[in-house]
């Protein structure tokens, strides 16, 4: 039915970065380089502060210039070496059974990289300040001992730095995989929801159009004004369909606007055999509901309440908020479900899609019931969480823009 063709928006299913949403871990190009530079600078600064206060307790031995030089030099060198660590992290994966080998490789890499860093650091420090950094404890020892102890001390720190950097890279990598998986899953879920909605629209439009156009064809002769009304309402429905596009959820106001038009047209079609009463609480109008959630239920009521009885049926639609939940109630005074009702009867199949969509969108947070009423007729009750416009997941794009 091209008449009701939905707005085709190619971008709809692609992840869209919200404006202002900065994901530090997905930065690219210059901004990524700048962020990394800032991180290494911060580490260098903290090291400088540590050195300054650690060795200037009794009297001022080192100047801020010196400690800054040492601190920044040490961490910028690690910054330069970090791509090597990142490369190793990407290559070495931990399995459940083989963790010894990866750990050994990392340990070897840590030792050798620390040594490289230490040598480079010594060169830089010597070149810049003519002073190789030694602690007071080390100065008390003999020269060879001193060199050995110095090496051991610095290597320990180097290895620690290496593993710290590697750990952070592993975490970033894990986080990225997690996000990618999450994004993929939400895309799949969204696809499923969209396809269920498409199915629903596909079922609704052809036979509804067919019946409506037949009604109009008769009314053109019998009651042109009424024919005019039906066509106007039909075009209004078409406009709403185009506006809504592929939205999975819409405010109840829009849903009711659509269902009102649908019912109005049916009221004209069935004349006095269909009567509809509505009790929509004003507070519920801005709450989100799944698009077209009430349509199949109303359609069922019409089908079984009106088409099967000469005297027709009364349909009542109401919405309220109860215990912070939105309660939608649709009832008719038709013949009821009958004792043989289950999921495999036509009514059951028609409502299966509705049930699946609610499950998909709200999980345990919803309830859906269909039952015979005491005085005759069927009552369908849908309870879903209260969610206002702008709340998360209202448009399915909530997985963007953190950090």
């Amino acid at each position: 039915m091209s008449l009701f063709a939905n707005k085709t928006d190619k971008a709809v299913n692609e992840p869209v970065d919200l404006p202002g949403g900065i994901d530090l871990l997905n930065l690219t190009g210059n901004s990524k380089r700048l962020a990394l530079f800032l991180i290494w600078t911060l580490l260098g600064l903290s090291e400088a502060i540590r050195l300054y206060y650690r060795y200037n307790i009794v009297q001022d031995i080192y100047t801020w210039g010196q400690t800054l030089y040492w601190g920044l030099a040490a961490w910028y060198l690690w910054g330069l070496l970090s791509p090597v660590i990142a490369f190793l992290v990407r290559r070495i994966t931990f399995g459940k059974s083989n963790w010894v080998r990866p750990v050994l490789i990392h340990l070897a890499a840590a030792l050798s990289l620390s040594l490289v860093q230490l040598i480079l650091d010594a060169c830089v420090v010597h070149f810049g300040t003519q002073y190789i950094f030694v602690t007071e404890e080390l100065l008390d020892q003999k020269l060879l001992d001193l060199i050995a102890a110095y090496l051991r001390f610095m290597l320990q720190r180097g290895v620690l730095s290496y593993f710290m950097i590697a750990l952070v890279i592993y975490m970033v990598q894990y986080y990225r995989q997690f996000r990618a998986e999450e994004r993929r899953r939400s895309a799949v879920e969204k696809d499923l929801l969209t396809s269920q909605l498409e199915t629903l629209r596909g079922q609704l439009q052809p036979h509804f159009l067919f019946n409506t156009l037949n009604t109009v064809a008769e009314l053109i002769h019998a009651d042109p004004d009424l024919a005019d009304q039906v066509i106007t309402k039909l075009s209004e429905m078409l406009r709403l369909t185009l506006d809504t596009g592929k939205a999975i959820e819409v405010p109840l106001r829009e849903e009711m606007e659509f269902i009102d038009l649908y019912l109005d047209i049916n009221e004209i079609r069935f004349e006095e055999r269909l009567q509809v009463t509505r009790e929509i609480h004003p507070e519920t109008l801005d709450l989100f509901v799944p698009t077209l959630i009430t349509q199949p239920i109303v359609e069922n009521s019409i089908k079984h309440g009106v088409s099967s009885r000469v005297e027709g049926a009364k349909i009542a639609i109401s919405s309220t908020i109860k215990d912070k939940q939105l309660v939608l109630r649709i009832s008719d005074d038709g013949p009821g479900l009958g004792s043989d009702y289950d999921e495999s009867t036509p009514v059951g199949i028609g409502l299966k899609n509705t049930r699946a969509r609610l499950e998909q969108l709200y999980g345990d947070e919803h309830s859906f019931s269909i039952s015979d009423m005491d005085g005759g007729g069927v009552e369908v009750v849908i309870v879903i969480p209260v969610r206002h416009a702008g709340s998360p997941t209202a448009d399915g794009d909530d997985d963007e823009g953190e950090l």
């Binding site: 036979h207 037949n214 002769h221 019998a222 079609r269």
Partner: protein, 84 residues
């Protein structure tokens, strides 16, 4: 000879539309219209139409039930007006 045609549909507007269409055809003699399966059966027995345009979904006696209930000696052709 004109064909005697009966139209059966519980929806008045749909029924009127079909009657209007058929009425404008030469060779068609509209002998009546019915709003229910029960009325359709009575009309078929009393007025012996050549063709019945029959709605499927109707209250109480539906289209299939009407066909099953037509007495055997009647030679009426029935066509379903099927609108999904």
């Amino acid at each position: 000879m004109k064909m005697k045609v009966l139209v059966v549909d519980d929806e008045r507007l749909a029924r009127r539309r079909l009657c209007r269409m058929l009425d404008s055809e030469d060779g068609v003699d509209m002998i009546g219209e019915c709003a229910s399966g029960q009325a359709a059966l009575e009309a078929i027995i009393q007025r012996s139409p050549n063709i019945v345009f029959l709605d499927v979904q109707m209250p109480q006696i539906d289209g299939f039930e009407v066909i099953r209930s037509i007495p055997e000696k009647k030679t009426t052709g029935c066509g379903f007006c099927y609108g999904f």
